[in-house]
Homo-oligomer: 378 residues x 4
């Protein structure tokens, strides 16, 4: 099986997200890093790409050069990953899609709803894959939860309760640290801070597991560190198309929470709970029965969950391999093989619509607003 | 030390709350059950009281008889506990207070805000104790959390996140069971279901630990089992007088949660978490540091936490002894000794104001409303 | 129902065990403290007894006076609890049994195997109850585990693994503290330190749940703080009469373990686990299936488990109420009502035989020895 | 940085261990699979190797062919991984070492102590790396524990308590399943069942963290499923050279335990605990203080722990990346860069000596025996 040719934009030396993508793309042997524009410093980016095995002619100084260099080649890249600063995602993703490349874009896919709609349309027109890296949805046990819902094991979903809270921005004396500050500065982060940064992962997960979409929401935002213009704590209530009630809390000042992303899904005949710090278990409770601890790798899981696990039961698999699972599914989709449900441009668009709706709701004292992008409204 | 004379109204044979109060009153030897009107069935109540050691002349057929019999005696009751159905709390509490008895009332103290204000005034005028059984606040480690805040160990409290959710009413096929149904029927439960039943415990706890009061709130209620008139799932966002942000989720359809009452308190320089199913630990995190597991009984706790613990570190103490701690403090207060902070009539009133505000907010699509009783508004 | 008349020896002001017994005896209203010899300081003991409501004529200066005073009375004590220093348990228990009193003795029941056999014989001859306070066996969920075994739900028990380890004696700089030192001094503690102090609770529990007795054992003892003559860390392997394999680790230098008493029981068709710091749950796993979280108070538990629980599911009940459950069963046994399996003089004897066997085995480099008292050998 | 050339023996299609090694070698981009003899079925092995990108001339039918083909090449393999059935490890490892290759051998390195000593000598003579895949020692937080000990943070280590127990062989009706049966059959598994399979991982870990070696041991083995010739449950007490006391329980009939590998290390001034199912945390307790939850990725960890982590704090990293860390260190060692402490041939030898000592001790009723290989005895 030949490796697929992979190009990476951003993710240069010292970046956090770059190693996760490289490990994800390489872990299962599906992709080979073939081209890269890894750094805003062109020389550094070229050198780093070559140190990672990219041939000199495909180590580019920026994404525009990469586009020029790659669009003409016969040995075309099979996939381009966009891991640049948030505000550039839209333009790069759009341009590569239009040039006929498959794209995996980091979240947020765009900075506005309008941009999101544009990407969705381009993606549809091009017939190319445009995936967004909501990688938590690729954990085997998250896929199992989606399967539990879709196969009717807990009946209609009444309620979803999700949290994505941490305390890593809770130190006011650290609030001017540039690494922290930009997230609460509209110039750089856009209209929302913590909700756009973490909350939308949880909102995507709620939809992914429930197999339904958010229709309306009401939000309460707070800047608990007063110097912040954007929110560092957000509560969003929502309703899904099918009537499911949703509650989503996201905070960056929850001192003591490390990576407090967890989700609970309650249906007519059962409930379940998953937490990202222990991603290999689901606590499942049938109505009237005892809570059961489900394990990644146990006998009888869905094919989706089984397919995305590499080692035996209770041998933990972690975050980098959830990213790898996105690449597993991308490889399958590119090769025309059966693939799981990849987070799509439509998902990226829905997130952006929810962010804008939440910001508007919070400004209007929690008024309930339509959370859908215009193109998906009735 | 002579035992204090204790009278109990309600809590007859087969009740859930009666044994908790009897154990609570007797556990530490402070009170002797001296009089009782334990059952709506007068004969049964008298017989049961006598089986518990009450002398025949103080085993009454109803609370009115008990009032008549006891108000005239020289060997007066030191405390009367009201553990009758919710709708009777107001009248009984009011009457006994007016007659000069100290009263411990089960929650909710009243069914309306106006009644609550009346109790507060009577209680103030009478100079008698009127306590409400928010017993969770009497766990040693909850007292420790209050101490941590009041002694400035986590700085100003930015955020409180509380849950009180269970799944015991999650079975729609059981929804017509009378034991369940009444809680969602306005005829019997009043204006609110789950929030009034469980949520107000969590709201009281938030205020108790933060040392502050709720000023305003916005609510989202849902009846996820459609046959229910009152809510079985509630989300309440709030603000305290000092600006603290609050989030409170309470559900009775969270299948798999057993007694999911937990609270997280986040301040400027630290955070902490407590859960009622493991009430003897607090997880404490100083900003920038590691989470520490605090244990009931460890060296160096506050005198409040130390005073209310009976056995050595890591020997668990549970719910009945939290109720007992309320009686420990009542005994101290009655004897004029130093006592801890008992949940008061004002607390009971504030709960009722919050319930009405939440109901009104939910009906007005989450509008932010004043959550304070009129007598405590500016 | 008249209260039973209860006498307490030891457990005076400032003792740890006294409050646990008083709370245990009073919690459910079965016993009234009627007589006491609470302190080695006669005057202090008398005064304290009276402060607890004992009438002056039954507040004694020592246990001999109490024996004299009580044996002649018509309104005899129904139960005498012995909570004095370990080395006096034998004589007091023996004397009161011979005088026709029911006795609850703190552990260890005796300091030698011979004394233990004597108590067993006297207890049998007298027809009186002689119980030993292995109170952990009275937790509802421990009774449930015994029921699970006896009802065949996990088949034959293959293996029991028990730990009773803490770190409270792990500070060498504190080793000369009298409160700690005596436990490792043969003059005061007898032949064994940590194993006799904590290990025998776990060994009793193993037998209690498995419904079988220890036949032979091999021990490895260590004094990890070299100044100690007796062991502060012990490992005991054992075999039960029915062939069950046992492993028991007990340590007092396990820094970080608080009250690390837990037990795992593995049978042919299932396994289960219980931990004393979360005593209200059992983790149960059927062979080939998922681990299930059993809760105190859940529907369908055995009558034994249901009978010994006071409050609803997931409202925790802790250590003092396990002691109270011993008194619940004592009250039932004294009244001739159906009672649960009380830890008996035979259990106290077996513990002592196991202690002596373990000490001898450890001295003989782990030689396997008969762990049974002579009177129970074939 | 050029990729290192890697050869794999065994680990063909359908094997469990093969994917773990491939992912481990590829995850961080250090190695490229360059040669392989992957299957006992030569044709299948060749085809599978080519499907993984191995060029046809380096896809071999068996390890002898691979040796012939590779020893002569100028573009020599940098590393050969031996992942064949246990009984072949010795011969293949020996042969490749003698031919001048670096080798990573799966555990057990050999089937006898004599073979182990031979490998150690050959490895020393050859100057080549011979590592054994005790991959758990490469978890970042295990490296941190070793650092905590070596930097004196808990003083002298008094006691190590390790478990490696699961229940996956607990079903007697499954005992004849070939996948299970061979482990308890001396023909295939050698002298020991569960202890040799899992226990030695835990024993290696004890030495690795404590920075000391096992000197003597006493064992108790049981075949709780009677048809088994070799033990399915083992308890081993041991002493290290420096006097540290050790306790190690390993079972395969512990129904409900999934991957129950955990270790506790207790020193003079602190204790710590780690569990393989949550490998990213260490619970650390300073003597007299509170237990602290240490997190992979937190500020202030040792360079060893920091170096072997790829993603931010509380983003879990699991078992495959622990294997990858072995390859990270192998790459560094091969390149002559600073590397961590790789599990060595000496470690593999010590394990085998401990297995034989434990088997002999168990047969002699727990007699204490020297656990060291002859070449490491005084």
């Amino acid at each position: 099986m030949n490796k697929l040719k992979w190009g990476l934009i951003g993710g240069g030396e010292g970046s956090q997200i770059g190693p996760a993508h490289r490990l994800g793309a390489h872990a299962d042997g599906h992709f080979a890093l073939t081209a890269g524009a890894l750094d805003v410093d062109a020389a550094k980016g070229k050198a780093y790409a070559q140190s990672l095995g990219v041939s000199p002619d495909r180590a580019y100084g920026n994404w525009q050069e990469m586009l020029e260099g790659e669009r003409a080649r016969e040995d075309r890249l099979d996939l381009v990953t966009v891991a640049t600063p948030n505000s550039t995602h839209f333009e790069i993703t759009k341009t590569f899609l239009e040039a006929g490349f498959n794209v995996l874009c980091e979240k947020p896919m765009t900075m506005t709803v309008e941009e999101g709609e544009e990407i969705v349309k381009i993606s549809e027109d091009s017939g190319k894959i445009c995936a967004v890296n909501y990688c938590y949805s690729a954990y085997p046990m998250v896929r199992e939860m989606r399967h539990i819902v879709s196969s009717g094991q807990i009946g209609k979903v009444r309620l979803v309760v999700a949290n994505f809270s941490h305390g890593h921005h809770g130190d006011a004396t650290d609030a001017d640290n540039p690494r922290v500050r930009w997230r609460y500065d509209p110039e750089m982060a856009g209209v929302s801070g913590q909700f756009a940064d973490c909350g939308i992962h949880a909102l995507h997960m709620a939809s992914f597991i429930a197999g339904d979409e958010v229709r309306s929401l009401s939000a309460d935002f707070a800047s608990t560190i007063p110097s912040r213009e954007l929110e560092d704590d957000a509560m969003v209530n929502f309703r899904m198309e099918g009537g499911t009630v949703g509650r989503l809390w996201s905070s960056s000042v929850a001192i003591g929470r490390q990576h407090g992303f967890d989700i609970q899904v309650f249906g007519e005949t059962g409930g379940m709970r998953w937490a990202s710090e222990q991603p290999n278990q689901v606590y499942f409770t049938p109505v009237g029965g005892r809570t059961q601890i489900m394990e990644k790798g146990e006998a009888g899981l869905s094919s989706e969950a089984a397919r995305l696990s590499r080692v035996a039961i209770a041998h933990p698999e972690g975050f980098p391999l959830a990213v790898a699972n996105i690449y597993v599914d991308l490889a399958a989709a590119i090769r025309g093989e059966p693939a799981g449900t990849l987070p799509s441009a439509a998902d990226g668009l829905r997130s952006m619509a929810a962010v804008y709706a939440a910001v508007a709701s919070a400004k209007q004292n929690g008024k309930w607003l339509d959370a859908r992008p215009p193109m998906f409204q009735d």
